[in-house]
Assembly symmetry: C2
DNA sequence: ATAGCTGCAAATGCTTTGCAAGGCC
DNA sequence: GGCCTTGCAAAGCATTTGCAGCTAT
């Protein structure tokens, strides 16, 4: 059984989308993709990367998150005006959003299914369907 | 059959929620509620009110939209980070959002129904469910 | 009279951008 | 070497806030 080679994985992930494996991007890719599905804001990711001792400017965090999104590594989720969330799971799925904590999480499996896809307005095509279940702490 | 009395209606609508019927708020209430369901941004509403010759500062537009939302006259819909939309229909319903035009519109009737309400995470209760069907021009 | 409202300008919060210096192929 | 990246600081947007003057009751 082979040992994991996360370093290589991160390099490959960047290489596969045509982005250079810089020190900054490698650290971000590892934080984002080596621990299951995640939902982060730029500010959060900046804190995390700083905590593990890697210096990355906030501007670079933003640039990277946008680049990752552009190449399909991430997906942006609109839940609150003013703050952007990025989701490492790019497959079609939905979310719980905790208004009290600002925490965003996937809705497991297929526990939400739309009974019917509504007919799109004239001259438009459906691109995606986002379901956000807003919850509050008890 | 009685004639409509929009002036009185607007006054009453404000009075019923404890807000003084000022020149500015009356104009906004009329624009918002006297022509069926609407979805507006602050900037849009500001343009409209200005066009009909009423002077209202953008700060007052924002303050009013927030006050109207706080008292339940409006509902805020999060579709894009950076811009807030306000919906005059406060009943539970869902939306189409046109990514090309930035236009938000109600999904008619019950053409979208969730098959199951997912179980909320521990110690949380569901507050609301927002479905946004993103469309693009053909 | 007085509590509430408005408008201006300044402040805020998040995000983007210009540009010089540095890093990867 | 040459193009891509980074980081800083400045700029940008949408929105909020402080406060002096005005308005509804």
């Amino acid at each position: 059984m082979k040992k994991d080679r996360p370093f290589t994985h991160a390099i490959d992930r960047l290489g596969s989308v045509g982005l250079r494996p810089t020190r900054q991007r490698l650290a971000l890719v590892r934080l984002l993709f080596e621990n299951g599905d995640r939902h982060v804001t730029a500010e959060q990711l900046h804190r995390e990367v700083t905590e593990i001792g890697v210096k990355v400017s906030l501007a670079t965090i933003y640039n990277s998150l946008n680049q990752f999104t552009a190449v399909g590594l991430l997906r942006e989720v609109a839940v609150e005006t003013g703050r952007s969330y990025f989701d490492t799971n790019t497959a079609a799925h939905h979310h719980f959003f905790n208004d009290d904590t600002g925490e965003l999480q996937d809705i497991p499996g297929d526990s939400v299914v739309l009974s019917t896809l509504p007919i799109a307005p004239d001259d438009t095509v459906v691109e995606s369907v986002d379901v956000i279940v807003r919850v509050r702490n008890k």
